[in-house]
Every structure is written in structure tokens, then in C-alpha cells.
């Protein structure tokens, strides 16, 4: 319950500001601004916990306004918000307290009472500029330019350039495959021929990409394994067709043949 005098908040050493992390930094700046607002309201001091709580609520209010406005813009099919989105967000946040004209959905947005109250507030108040000079951020932004993707701008102008580029098309366009969906234990798996060249495979594997045509994997359930030269498969310990207890999966050098699913009787 230590009291914090507002003068101390304003005279905060700039060094302490610089040593903070990015989220703490913005929080500290907001705390100074909130302390200034409280001082003009008439308070002489504040409990540190109360000031921090109010700062937290201020940041939440800002973010809620922004999210509400941007979601309203997005639902109208726009990426950039305009004045109407902001006024809607203001009305949305003032609906808890209530305002004149809240019951009229057809009222003109530019004459909505939260906006008018805001106008009156601005005209009636004196300016309270921020106490501390903020360190210039322009140097940082020059050092880290946003990576621009030229391929995006040419082929797809609707995609912003700051998004990462599309991957190589060969990785996601495949010849038609018929992979059985999901874990269909009862499906019969047919053997596929390996048609790819050896060199192609090596080059693809060298690039850390999965080959498109891979060996099929069969799952054979049951204790009695087929002795017919199996090529590739797994065995799951089962009794009477139900997986019980020990779920040991063993790798057997089975051959891929017309391996029908068989249940032990």
C-alpha cells in the first residue's frame, strides 16, 4: 500500500525506461500518462496498486476499442477502419453506461452522443501534453526493414507484401493419389509401383522434401502373422480382434502384397 506521488512518476529516470522490455515499456509509458490524467482530475497521490490497475484498464480499453472497430471493418469487407467503425466501437463501449439515443438504431452515426460528448470534452479541456519525451523510434524502424516479397505483389495484388511468400508450388501440387482416408483398418491396401526415378528421389530427399510417391504402409492386426513374404507392415498386439492391454507395435519386414485384413478366430 505504498503511496506514489505523481511527481515521482513524472521524474522517472529515463534510464529505467530504457532497460525495460517492450511490453513493460509501453505499460510504463501508459502509467505516466494515466498518472498525469489523475493529477489533472484532482488527485495528489495514488496507491501504486490502484495506479497499476487503472493503467491496465486503460490499455484494455484502448485495445477493446481497436478490436471492436477493426472487427466491424472486417465484417464489412474492409481491411482499414474508418470513422464509422470507430464511432460504432465507441457506442458499443458506452452501451454499458447508456447514452442518449441508444435505443434508436437508425440515428446518424456522426451525431451519436458518445461522439458529441467527446467533442465537448476536447473543447472544454486544456491540453495536457505528455510529460516525458519519448525516445525516438525512427532509428529502430530503419534498421529493421520489413521483408518485402516481390512474388506476392506480382501474382496476387490482394495479398499484402509483408506476408511471407508462398512455398514452392512443387511441394503442394501432387499427382492424383488415392491414399485411404484416416485409420481405416478394414481397407484393403493395394501395392503401388514405384515409378519415380532414383535420381529424382535423391534430389528431393536432398532438399529435405518428402517424395510424392511413397511406399505404402500396411497395418495388420492379429497375433498370427502371415508367413507369406510380407514386405512392410506393423503388428499390433490383439486378442479376439480387440486391442487389449499391451499395445506393442512391432515392425516387421513385411512385403507389400495383397494383404487382406484377417481376424484371428
Amino acid at each position: 500500500m505504498s503511496k506514489v506521488v505523481f511527481l515521482q512518476a513524472r521524474n522517472m529516470e529515463s534510464e529505467t525506461l530504457e532497460t525495460l522490455g517492450p511490453s513493460d515499456f509501453s505499460f510504463a509509458i501508459t502509467k505516466v500518462a494515466v498518472a498525469q490524467i489523475c493529477q489533472t482530475t484532482g488527485f495528489r497521490a495514488a496507491q501504486s496498486s490502484a495506479l497499476e490497475t487503472l493503467t491496465r484498464i486503460t490499455t484494455l480499453y484502448l485495445q477493446t476499442l481497436a478490436k471492436s472497430a477493426s472487427s466491424r471493418a472486417a465484417s464489412s469487407g474492409r481491411t482499414q477502419s474508418n470513422i464509422f467503425d470507430v464511432v460504432h466501437a465507441l457506442e458499443h463501449l458506452s452501451s454499458d453506461q447508456g447514452f442518449a439515443g441508444a435505443s434508436n438504431p437508425n440515428g446518424c452515426l456522426l451525431a451519436s452522443s458518445p461522439l458529441l460528448d467527446l467533442i465537448k470534452f476536447v473543447y472544454s479541456r486544456r491540453e495536457i501534453p505528455f510529460a516525458k519525451p519519448l525516445p525516438r523510434r525512427s532509428n529502430l524502424s530503419q534498421n529493421l526493414p520489413l521483408p518485402q516479397n516481390p512474388s506476392n505483389s506480382k501474382q496476387s495484388p490482394h495479398i499484402p507484401t509483408w506476408l511471407p511468400g508462398f512455398p514452392d508450388p512443387s511441394t503442394y501440387t501432387e499427382p492424383k493419389t488415392d491414399i485411404p482416408s484416416g485409420l481405416n483398418w478394414n481397407a484393403e491396401v493395394e501395392e503401388r509401383k514405384h515409378s519415380g526415378n532414383e535420381k529424382e528421389k535423391k534430389s528431393r530427399l536432398g532438399n529435405m522434401e518428402l517424395p510424392k510417391k511413397r511406399e505404402r504402409v500396411t497395418f495388420r492386426m492379429g497375433e498370427a502373422a502371415e508367413a507369406k513374404s510380407p514386405r512392410l507392415g506393423f503388428r499390433v498386439g490383439m486378442k479376439n480382434g480387440v486391442c487389449r492391454g499391451g499395445k506393442r507395435v512391432s515392425w516387421q519386414n513385411h512385403n507389400l502384397q495383397n494383404s487382406k485384413f484377417k481376424r484371428p478366430r
Binding site: 489523475c38 496507491q47 496498486s49 482499414q80 470534452f121 476536447v122 505528455f130
Partner: protein, 136 residues
């Protein structure tokens, strides 16, 4: 015709009032600096090239905080006027209006924000108990 013109005039008035206001916003410096507001707006996905809208959001937040602070101030003053016994005490307390968690939570409750606050923290489970009943 007259009604339509009246309606259009009203809208023009609103538009002009708003554009005047937005122009005056550029002269007014909100307490919350623009860079900070831009940081939080970018964090929330708000994209807008217009600087006046950023100022509008900053001013709206400032108004909100000022309202909450004035509500807390009223709570503080109401509590002081109830407690006052001597005139000297009241004058001394007026100079030291302190923002406390109690006043803040009462003021925030009007805005739908519930702030619960611990009354105190105890060092051990036997703090505050009778010394005779404490285990030794």
C-alpha cells in the same frame, strides 16, 4: 422537399462539425502519446492511415480515464465528508486526495469492471490469532 433539405442540412452540419472537430484534434495534443496509441492499435489489428482517427481513439481513452478518475474522486470526497469531525481535519485531508483501490473499484463498477482487491496479506496462518491459542 423542405423536409429533405432540412435533413440534408442537418447532415451537412454534422459533417462540418465533425470535420472541424477532426481538424482541431490535430492542434490538440492528447495526454496519451501517438506512438503509444499506434502500438496498441497495431497490436489489436486496427489499420488506418488517417492520423486523425488515432487522435480520436487517444482522446476517447483519455476521456474514459478522466471519467473514472473523477468518479473515484467523488467517492473519496464522499467518504471524507462522512468522516469529518473538525474543520481542521477536513482541510488537511483535502490537500491529500489519494487514489485508493476502494474508490477505484467503486468507480469502475459503474463501467462494468469488477475489481476485487485483497484487504491484506498475512505472513503465516497464525497471524492475528490469539497468542494463547497459537501452537508453539
Amino acid at each position: 422537399m423542405n423536409q429533405n433539405q432540412g435533413g440534408n442540412d442537418a447532415r451537412h452540419d454534422d459533417d462540418s462539425a465533425l470535420s472541424d472537430f477532426l481538424a482541431s484534434l490535430m492542434d490538440y495534443t492528447p495526454t496519451i502519446p501517438d506512438e503509444l496509441v499506434e502500438h496498441y492499435l497495431a497490436k489489436s489489428g486496427f489499420q488506418c492511415p488517417d492520423v486523425r482517427l488515432i487522435r480520436l481513439v487517444a482522446v476517447a481513452t483519455q476521456k474514459f480515464v478522466a471519467e473514472v478518475a473523477s468518479g473515484a474522486l467523488q467517492q473519496c470526497k464522499a467518504r471524507q465528508s462522512a468522516v469529518v469531525k473538525d474543520k481542521r481535519d477536513k482541510q488537511q485531508k483535502d490537500k491529500r486526495l489519494i487514489l485508493t483501490m476502494e474508490d477505484l473499484s467503486k468507480a469502475l463498477r459503474e463501467y462494468g469492471v469488477n475489481v476485487k482487491h485483497q484487504e491484506y496479506f498475512a505472513d503465516s496462518p497464525s497471524t492475528g490469532m490469539d497468542p494463547a491459542s497459537r501452537d508453539e
